[in-house]
Symmetry: C2
Subunit: 409 residues, 2 copies
């Protein structure tokens, strides 16, 4: 466990670079109860940054598991009205949302995936109204992480709980640039580089990408008004924030019906407390027409069959295998980290911010512009040192984008 | 720490005797995050008892302290709308509420009492609409407890944390009859005895009580339709529940303007994270005209000056010094336990259930019948082996009720 000074330094980087808390802004923290020591530091530092109030939504993963095992189905599907009212009220108050994503990847192993999906869908449906606040970056949000014991033991089996947690802290500090002398300055430099990359891609106006790798042969058309984005976003008040820490990706949306071919995941996906391995998908006209997985098949089935939009992709993101996270060769079993070690795509909803003018578009306009709509948005990893990606310009010119898993430009 | 079997047994007694959870009933648990191990057992046992859903409101005392120290005043006074909506929604669904009352008695020592009071008042005001659900026993509610480390160390100074917690578990198990072979049967027998006592008092129709002890010389008139109650209550669905575990009291309400004389507390009162000692109050025509305290004066001042009703008493309760809790001679610094070791009174709101027909009365009718109204309800202890209480019948006959702190009847 880092000492208080190190925790304070980490909290400050999350608050300054990630949330960019403004004087008078409310902050809402969503955290597992095991994170209490760090949350207390976070709360104190949020007040020092001028937060008007700091509220905390605690959750206990083990109680969540008990509920999913034992609660009658009607209860799992019933989301109280106050849940969406709370979210709406917080969004309308321009709250900055910080989520600590830290969970045992096997938390829900053995629990009926249908019951997990029932509850998850009910919750997403209840929060549908406030989704745009996040998908359009209207409010500040940040997903970050700290170690929890079960998760650390999964990553470092054979180690004592204490050593495993210490190693995971070190891994997290390493990939969030906390080992730099001035992490805030290091982050600014990093964000600039990512944005330069996005600017380059936007200048090219690619019409199509072609992914090739073991089990993968996929063409992805891009909407005319697609925009590559990276790392930094702006909320409704014009304040910059960084929604993920760490972040190594540049990303945009695919054309909803312009995805064809096959895709194979290259890393396990820890999703809803279940580990999904060797996911394979086939696409025709954008739609998933076939899928398989060596483990977690039922979970993937529930995900894909959630709604019509969960049969389509909503995001494609480029991350080279020489990214700092990838070079560590640590499988985190946590998408926040693993997706930043690897090219990835997301099943489900597209970010309207990835379309020029998309934030001001109606649902119909978004759809007509090629953006997919779904209540889901689940990333999975497809990058490896065997991945090549070609970009195609409007005139048909082929531009080698990735070779051997790294940028070729 | 008790083993899982012991925790399960305790949970079952709380669920069966206290909440009396009905099949299909929702349960809401309010607990400090330190109670997680026990809460997980509780949640599981609630489902086994047929709960439709079990939701948990976690709180962290240390985050509460940080907030009270650092949050701008506007924030302390602002209770989001969803808080009252949530409570109303839960009450309307006939939820059973379980609160684990376990806090370091010195949690807020040194924090400005005015800021504590600001926040507490704002919260009480926000929940005013749903107060009657609890004050009239319309919904099932239970206050119970388990040890937390800081609290246990306060009670058993000089012991290791582990030993202190073990000793507090033993004390709690002892006073909640968990050492009996069949705790549920022991509870039934105990509740019967308390209700016999209440029935005796109701038969007497006392018009006035006279308390005498060191620093105490107080007459308390009783409203014409007062009812002595004990231990067991009935919710709107007619299901019995026990709102406090442990409970040793029989209680009723005083006539709002019929309290005169002086009163001295006999045990410290842990209230809002501050310990109040040697509280002295003077009453004229029911109203507190003077008050003092050796410690915690500012906190008592904030309490008494909350609203007009917080200048009056709302409850009187009789507990002999030979009650099991009192005989342990453990000062718990927690009103749930200490009030059940001692005669006590409460500043503030009266329970409408203590008036015959009170639950169906309007606010004006309640007032006309002698019931006090306030947003506060705070008990403090006035019993000791030096306390005598006389009861007066309508014809002026004096009945010795308590002698030397014990029942004289």
């Amino acid at each position: 466990m880092p000492n208080t000074e190190q925790l304070t330094r980490y909290a400050d980087v999350l608050i300054q670079v990630g949330l960019n808390v403004q004087p008078g802004q409310p902050v809402s923290i969503n955290a597992p109860i095991e994170a209490a020591d760090f949350v207390r530091v976070l709360v104190e530092r949020c007040y020092h940054a001028g937060a008007a109030t700091v509220s905390i939504d605690w959750y206990d993963p083990l109680c969540k598991r008990i509920r999913l095992e034992l609660e009658p189905e009607a209860g799992l599907q019933d989301v109280p009205k106050w849940v969406s009212q709370k979210m709406l009220e917080e969004c309308q108050k321009n709250t900055a949302f910080l989520h600590i994503d830290a969970e045992d990847p096997d938390l829900l192993a053995g629990v009926d995936p249908r019951r997990i999906s029932l509850q998850s869908k009910a919750r997403r449906a209840a929060l549908r109204e406030t989704d745009p606040y996040f998908m359009e970056d209207r409010v500040t949000w940040l997903v970050c992480s700290i170690p929890t014991t079960d998760w650390a033991m999964k990553l470092f089996p054979g180690e004592s709980a204490e050593t495993a947690v210490a190693k995971l802290w070190d891994a997290i500090f390493s990939v969030t640039r906390m080992h730099e002398q001035d992490p805030v300055a290091a982050w600014r430099e990093h964000l600039n580089k990512l944005q330069e990359r996005a600017a380059y891609l936007n200048k090219q106006h690619f019409v199509k990408l072609h992914y090739r790798g073991p089990g993968t042969d996929l063409t992805v058309e891009l909407p005319e008004r697609h925009q590559w984005l990276a790392a930094s976003a702006k909320n409704d008040q014009g304040h910059a924030f960084v929604p993920n820490m760490p972040t190594e990706e540049v990303f945009t949306l695919p054309k909803r019906d312009g995805v064809n071919g096959t895709l194979r995941s290259t890393m396990p996906l820890a999703y809803e407390g279940v580990v999904i391995e060797d996911l394979e998908l086939s696409f025709e006209g954008g739609r998933i027409v076939n899928f398989n997985a060596r483990s977690g098949y039922e979970t993937i089935k529930e995900l894909v069959e959630t709604d019509e939009g969960s049969h389509y992709l909503g995001e494609i993101a480029l991350v080279p295998v020489d990214s700092p996270i990838s070079r560590r060769n640590t499988l985190f079993y946590n998408t926040l980290f693993d997706e930043n070690a690897s090219c990835h795509v997301a099943i489900g909803e597209a970010y309207p911010v990835c379309l020029e003018g998309g934030v001001d578009m109606s649902k119909d306009e978004l759809k007509a512009s090629g953006a997919n709509e779904s209540m889901m948005h689940v990333d999975f990893m497809i990058g490896s040192s065997a991945l090549d990606i070609d970009g195609y310009l409007a005139d048909g010119t082929l531009v080698p984008l990735f070779r051997g898993g790294n940028w070729a430009i």
